[in-house]
Amino acid sequence: MRRIKTPLELEALRNSLVHRRDPNKPHVRVCLGTGCRARGSLDVAEAFKDEIEKQGLEIQVECKQTGCHGFCERGPVVVIGPKDIFYQRVKPRDVPEIVSKTLLNWEVVDRLLYMDPATGQKILYEYDVPFYKRQTRRILAYNGQIDPTDILDYIAVGGYQALAKAIANMSCEKIISIVEKSGLRGLGGGGFPTGKKWRLCREAAGDVKFVVGNGDEGDPGAFSDRSLMEGNPHSILEGMIIGAYAIGANRGYLYVRAEYPLALKHLQIAINQSREYGFLGKSIFNSKFGFDIRINRGGGAFVCGESSALVASIEGKMGEPGAKYVHTVERGLWNKPTNLNNVKTWASVPMIINEGADRYAKIGTMKSKGTGVFSLVGKVNNTGLVEIPMGTPLKQIIYDIGGGILDGKRFKAVQTGGPSGGCIPERLLDLPVDFEKLTEAGSMMGSGGMIVMDNSTCMVDVARYFLDFLQNESCGKCVPCREGIKRMLEIVTDITAGRGKEEDLELLQELAETVKDFSLCGLGKTAPNTVLSTLRYFKDEYYAHVRDKKCPAGICRDLIEYSILEDKCTGCGACLKLCPQQAIDAYGLIHTIDPAKCIRCGICRDACQFGAITVK
């Protein structure tokens, strides 16, 4: 029985772990986050294990399989500790070399180092890589450090100490006031003050209360919740246990997408281990407080990330939202007071308890405290998971951390907050990222997706894409959302197909505003954001589609035409062979495209090495 009964026992366990672990022992940390897995990091990890075994180094070196390191663009990522040498794009065949050179002799394998494209210099250490250097990793601090399936790893870095501190030395009131003072806000995008929510829930009438962790991240292009659940599940559990203790709840639910199998697996392992050590279950730390968590898997509906739909879904009802005039803190799950927070919010709690409210509140802006976690994706050089203090300008995120736009193209817009967020144009790039500023700009914090678009993106097409997503993900309960999104999509599709009329833009604007005002839940209320923001910042693109029947970015298939530049075409025939429609003729040396046959797939343009194919 490994039950930890007192804070002292926890401290003793941690000390023994720290003592037992030699800080100078060479170790490999292989990223097994989803991005790196997709690039084959499982094989790399396996190769390390085999190689270490083969060379008989099991005692001297250690191989650790960690959660997402964040720099997905350069995956599979491998860090060699304790010096933190950073290797990227590692393949299984590189492993023997790394083991015998770096792990044993601290010789660097030059070709695996990351090269800073700006300076052309190779960078040796993880903390010197610009992508990491300019981040402030707090929620994700241990994401690339610990093995998420081993509770001892988490305890060794100080895990569950906040829980011990909270239960042994703090009253519920004290915990809530610390969280209030820290200024922590709902990191799922809502931005509601967490401490206030906890207080409301604590004060709500009823002896049975619940806490819920929302891990139903469904936005295309967002993976911050996922990486946290996969990489450091215990931090979420610890936050939830502290929250439950402060609120007076005895039961917790974690609502996680079924499409996140790894997150589900790691969370379940974490819950089991936590129970084993007595952090979950009856009389935690010998107190009267008992608490347990159960995982509920979401069935793949985007709308179930909305709190009232999520609650309905846990109850076993159809996942559709209800009105929230009576807040879930008063009547939530089974009509009992329920405190629902995003997993990132829960994971911030131990940090706040450990270091105190003031230190947490030092980071961030006046109204938005702490850090925000964003999934930086799209046409940006350094795709990955980014954590920055609230109030960091967009420009810094995209250019300093993200390394600028892919292929040296020009920045056009960034969409924050997932499909319901707005597109922010270049002239607002100095906008500091916090809850209020993003909302003012017509976008939102949302789940922390950040999709960067370059000048080859058609904003009307972007609006069409997200409307299409939302049309299928609207639950269909209320009229403005169900019918309104469908009609907006219809209008926008017409515009991209060249059938748009100028009065359509007015109708689109009117429709978008009504959907925003009249929808029942957050999904509908934010669904028109892409339309409204693109109409606001990129109106000329709409005009180009409607008036001139042209797509300036060359994306909308019905409005463009491919042709071959005579002076550049060498007659090599590369395009001709690949054209699926046999639309390219080669009379003589120069090729021509038959517009009647062309389906504007763009294969010929990609095939041409001479830049002879243009889009008008």
Partner: protein
Amino acid sequence: MITFNIDGVKVQAEEGSTILEVARFYGIDIPTLCYHDELTPYGSCRLCTVEVDDGRRTRLVTSCLYPVAEGIRVKTHTERVVKGRKLIVELLLARCPNSKILQDLASKMGLEHVRFKMEDKDCILCGLCVRMCAEQMGSGAIGFVGRGQNREVVTPFRMASEICRNCGACMYICPAVDLQCRGVKSPGELCNSCLVITPQCLEKYGQVMCALESCGACVEKEGK
């Protein structure tokens, strides 16, 4: 008792009642499609949306669900609200052009044409039948399936339900299917008959169903 203000009138209501209930009690007309006195309010048609100022901010709320609170100021027919309701009726009419209840609402609101592509469906997905079956008939033989555009009311697995008693309550309560607007000649056209007929619907349009339950629009028109 809770005292608050609707459209400039000071009113009193019992705690726990909704704005819609109070407004109807005081004779203020707020249009609804998915609301029924005897069923749990659902909040899906959004027509009953009103503007509420709770002292901190003004926002649009669903009056059939919003519990009255001390000191709030409710406005039931502001420009923003009326405009939105009209667009919602327009959206619904584009879906179900032959629904009499929608045609009547359109006439009442002065909606003269629909700017969207017309469909030809019957169900407005108000959920009255589902709630009727479950709450009043104690049966629950029908329910919603699907999401977004694919949402519909069906029996489980689309098979003949074993618990359906064929009581017909769902048909009785349906606002859209039973009464078809007979004034519409071709699908997509707005009836608006009540706006143009004088002096009495019945004489001129024997077939027009609105003669059975006057929307009052014709009388108003005549009065002007």
